[in-house]
Amino acid sequence: MTAVYVQLSYIDLAIASVLLLLAGGLSIALNLGLEKSLGIAALRTTVQLSLIGLVLKILFTLVSPWWTGLAALTMILLAGREVTARQNLRLRGGWSYSIATTSLITAGGIVTILALTTAIRPEPWYDPRFALPLLGMMLGNTLTGISVGMERLSATLKREKDAIEARLVLGHTRRDAVRPYVREAMRAGLMPIINAMSAAGLISLPGMMTGQILAGVDPTEAVKYQILIMFLLAGTTSIGALMAVLATSWRLGDERDRLRLDRLRAR
């Protein structure tokens, strides 16, 4: 079987955009008021993706460790901001952002570098054509795990304040008093990736694998890649969510075994 890669022309894109007009028409007909948001979102996706296409093209020709590193750092900082933006309850003093970013750097960094140096092994190992898409996938999943975990922990500690303090006044340590909620937050953070792994292949065909198949790669090869990615995602999400949840729990307490909800503020 020869691999066939079908190149898209701009006319193909224009035809697909008819569907967008259809969606906009429905919005007007049903009075949903979404036509403007749809238009802006479609424009954003076109402009953002075109720009990133250009940036990636330049980075791929440069193959510079510095520019690749800078791009990776930018992605991580943006991911940290995204986690913070999703928190309804934030830690005061920029702690939500610091915790999210540190967890993303550590988890995403370790697993991406591990994958590049042991499994995929491009030459050089930081080749942006491998490093950046891989990091992007790690960050996308890890940021979901981290933001769900942090949000769940803050919300639960706030809701269960009376129960936690009831234990503190009886002389339980703060660690013991919050342990069930830390566990619950960890579970919540890991659930999306567990669901994704369970549904993969049956209900959903993961995007990367689909992309490779469309690009003409043999499905069994594409599947191997996807399994590798799934394992990497499970690893990075676990590490990231664990770090972020534990750090949030630490920040919401102090050395006198108190519950410090005064360090939270609602958005």
Binding site: E160, K161, D162, A163, I164, E165, A166, R167, L168, V169, L170, G171, H172, T173, A177, P180, D254, R256, D257, R258, L259, R260, D262
Partner: protein, 200 residues
């Protein structure tokens, strides 16, 4: 027994206070003036400054959980962390728990009850029993009988004075002047972040 010097916390203080063993201090004052916050600060539940010690041992030299086991705060509305009553009494001496429950007119089967089905009064009595079963040296009670009917309030008051008679120091917040008079061996009035002796 309990010595508080120069205690400060946001809108409160500086407070100087001594609680002797066997003493029952009734703390009164307008709503929202920070009586609960004062008790919380003594129990070290919120950040605060000052020199607080128990029998000469400085609070800062003790782990916070150790401190709170001896200087125990019982909030007016407390929380429950398990579905049934029993786990909240885990690790406590069984005979003492039963005895305390009995003195508050709670059957020993109360331990098997579902927390969700408890009435306000049952919650309040169980919370008191839960604290007393730890045999603290100092008890800080926030409106300990606010949700109780006459008979149960009388039982709780009796239990509190028995505990004091056994040597514990008690400070309780109340809005009931008659109760302050009846139960308190000393009365303090809290206003504008300061404590003052109430006129006898």
């Amino acid at each position: 027994m309990l010595s508080v010097r120069n205690l400060k916390r946001l809108s409160i203080g500086p407070i100087d206070l001594d609680v002797a063993g066997g003493e029952i201090i009734a703390l009164t004052g307008p709503s929202g003036v920070g009586k609960s916050l004062l008790l919380r600060a003594i129990a070290d539940l919120d950040p605060n400054e000052g020199d607080v010690s128990l029998l000469g041992d400085d609070r800062d030299t003790m782990d916070a959980p150790d401190w709170r086991k001896q200087v125990m705060y019982v909030p007016a509305h407390t929380g429950w962390w398990a579905d049934t009553v029993e786990p909240h009494f885990a690790g406590l001496e069984r005979a003492r728990v039963k005895n305390t429950l009995q003195r508050l007119d709670l059957e020993s089967t109360a331990l098997g009850w579902q927390v969700a089905n408890l009435s306000t009064g049952e919650r309040q009595r169980l919370a008191l029993a839960r604290a007393l079963a730890h045999v603290p040296k100092i008890l800080l009670l926030d409106e300990p009988t606010s949700g109780l009917d006459g008979d149960n309030a009388a039982r709780a008051e009796k239990l509190i004075s028995d505990i004091a008679q056994d040597g514990a120091g008690v400070m309780f917040v109340t809005h009931d002047a008659a109760q302050a008079e009846r139960l308190g061996t000393r009365r303090l009035y809290f206003y504008d972040g300061k404590l003052q002796e109430a006129a006898p």
